[in-house]
Subunit: 417 residues, 2 copies
């Protein structure tokens, strides 16, 4: 098995040597032996610190192509006059290029996993396999857009493919309660439970969704999913902006997880997620970026800082002590990894060898009174020196293979539009 030794890296306040063997951390916090060094690639990490990388719990990767295409307008106008007409013209090749741009941006901002709800899943799977990071690629189901035949194909795809490799998983993604009805939603949940897929959906994102749901079904979206028996530990719900206390207790008790997307929720004027209340309910809470057309980037660091700031002014509960740096970091790393069943997001023996190396000479990490505080509250992506996923470098000294070509291809599509 390939071995890498990260030599003299700052970890938990001490200069240490860390051994990666194959895909996993083999020795952390122990002295390495001559045997460990045998045939190992030794990487000098003097002046670098190691922290867990980001796991993006909700996005639409190829929407990088729509970055800045339409902003600062009401949701319906945005969708109907700009986003949907643009998307209607996208080919599988376009989506491949958009996904490549997304993965490039994610790597550069320290993300090694994303959960993707979009179309042309095969090309996104190919991109992720080639570029070396992880993903849960959605089989996306929306009854307002897909024909019954297409939906049957989707279920067949889920049966035929299972987990594709150790970095790329499939997930079942009914779009939302307002685009998928009871019958298909229940079928999605059944497949997810039987085949151990994550079940991912948009949930309680806007007040309009809540209002319409109450009108149509007489209950909240979360109550509806509970009634349909959809909640459970396979459920990973994106947004969860407008949950009642009862909604929270239903989700927490069922083992469902919430993925908050604060930048997108604020930018679209949807509302402010109540992160303290969600955490207090006992729910597993992680973060995602949503698509680049509503964020307008895929930077998990921004979500991490923003959710921590919002926690401190949350009505009723917010105070300066709310969601301290260490906790905010977990929301962007270990928690979303856990929600998607990936044993990663922690720098510890036996966990998958995913990591960021931070440049301690970056001015925002100076002085180094507290590395986690500096990383969460002061730094931005410019502090990221290298990115490791599954025991391999996917960025070294800020270089990602193929970068120039990806950028050129993406610009070409934009010009065509």
């Amino acid at each position: 098995m390939a071995k890498i030794i990260l030599q003299s890296v700052l970890f938990q306040g001490k200069i240490q040597d860390i051994l990666i063997s194959g895909k996993k951390f083999a020795k952390v916090g122990r002295t390495l032996t001559a045997r460990d060094y045998d045939k190992a690639e030794v990487v000098n990490c003097k002046g670098l610190a190691i922290v867990p990388p980001f796991y993006n719990g909700h996005t639409h990767a190829a929407m990088t192509l729509l970055r800045g295409y339409a902003d600062d307008m009401p949701l319906q106008k945005w969708l109907q006059e700009y986003i949907w007409p643009f998307e209607a013209k996208l080919t599988a090749k376009d989506i491949e290029i958009g996904s490549r741009l997304a993965v490039l941006e994610m790597i550069k901002s320290g993300t090694v996993f994303f959960s993707d709800m979009y179309w042309h899943r095969e090309v996104t799977m190919k991109v992720v396999k080639e570029m070396g990071i992880r993903a849960a690629i959605g089989v996306t189901i929306a009854e307002n857009l897909d024909s019954p035949e297409h939906i049957e194909e989707n279920f067949k795809f889920l049966q035929d493919h299972r987990y594709e490799n150790d970095r790329v998983k499939l997930a079942v993604m009914p779009h939302s309660i307002y685009t998928v009805g009871e019958k298909i939603f229940k079928r999605c949940a059944k497949v997810a439970n039987a085949e151990n897929y994550v079940l991912h959906t948009h949930l309680s994102e806007t007040l309009t969704e809540i209002k319409d749901c109450k009108k149509q079904y007489g209950c909240s979206p979360v109550e509806l999913l509970a009634k349909w028996d959809i909640l459970g530990d396979h459920m990973v719900a994106a947004h969860c902006v407008h949950l009642s206390e009862y909604d929270m207790s239903l989700m927490a008790e069922s083992g469902s997880a919430a993925i908050l997307n604060p930048c997108s929720n604020l930018k679209l004027g949807s509302g402010i997620p109540k992160v303290n209340a969600l955490l207090d309910s006992g729910m597993l809470v992680g973060l995602g970026t949503d698509g680049a057309s509503s964020n307008n980037n895929l930077d998990m660091h921004e979500e991490m800082k923003l959710i921590s700031l919002l926690a401190k002014v949350e009505p009723k509960t917010g105070k300066a002590e709310s969601l301290p740096a260490e906790e905010a970091l977990k929301l962007a790393t270990a928690n979303p990894a856990l929600a998607y069943g990936i044993p990663a997001g922690v720098i510890a023996e036996g966990f998958l060898a995913d990591a960021l190396l931070l440049d301690l000479k970056n001015e925002r990490l100076v002085p180094n009174h507290n590395l986690v505080s500096n990383w969460v509250y002061a730094a931005d992506s410019s502090a990221i020196h290298s990115v490791i996923c599954n025991g391999k470098f996917v960025m070294k000294n800020r270089h990602v293979d193929g970068e120039e070509e990806i950028l050129k291809d993406a610009q070409k599509i934009a010009k065509r539009s």
Copy 2:
């Protein structure tokens, strides 16, 4: 006069050549002649875009030394057990090093001006002069900390020094209505009006300040300053988180400006500034970062994105259309420049030649449907290629002179503490 030609730079959607002559933009949006090229330094800007740089309307620069020293705790504990004891040990030399670190960080994140409220103003003035950016350096007055003799010295300093050079101005900075009484506050305002200094103070930052003011004086802090006849077009007030409609009208009618510091206000749990309401009142509104001990950086880009996001969920007024990218950019550039009387923050003929060159190959600026949207909503400091202040490059291709030494010196002080 020295001349620089920025050749083939993207400006307002077109590839253009821009002539800087001495400290100012001489030709923007016109064809350059052979005479313009005579003895000019020609800088190839192919693949770069020009945008205005940031003007940081409120900070305490040397507090970079306290970055990450104490976080996530109540304000009183933070001040009394951590910040004040640390500050008590700081020498003039320390403050010089802290200011250098601050200026380095500001340049790297695209800021060319800051308003500084701190002590040992002479060393900060020296640092700013040497490092090539602009500042309004405060003569800071706090009756709870300064002796009457020290306060007399401060007023004498203001009389003796006037504007030091074209990049460094002095400003009169009574700390706040809870640390400066009527007599001294009025004297500060009198000097500011007579000598044309900006009058800068903390105002309506926390609910405690409002409550205490109402108890002591029977009115809000803004009403108090109106009563004392302090408001006016020399007044630039930091924070302004908790203003009533009446407070806003008093400030707007008097020509006073507000500098919002959203990251700091959220991080300390003080509250969310109501930017839509403030702008609707007709007030001049700009942004600042506050000190690095409560932010924890000096990144104006973060403030710009955050205030735009917060506007979209502001109670009563917030919607997706609130504070669009172009407006948010002004809050971080032209508006604070205007508040401090600096004819800059706009790329236009006759204005001071301050600018950022953005790298169009940065993945977050791709695709380029809308540069301003990409810059405000998608980018971070990694997109900044070069920084120009007063007609000179202070950062070129991400290099700032003396960077390594500044970082080393700052780390030494931190270790000593």
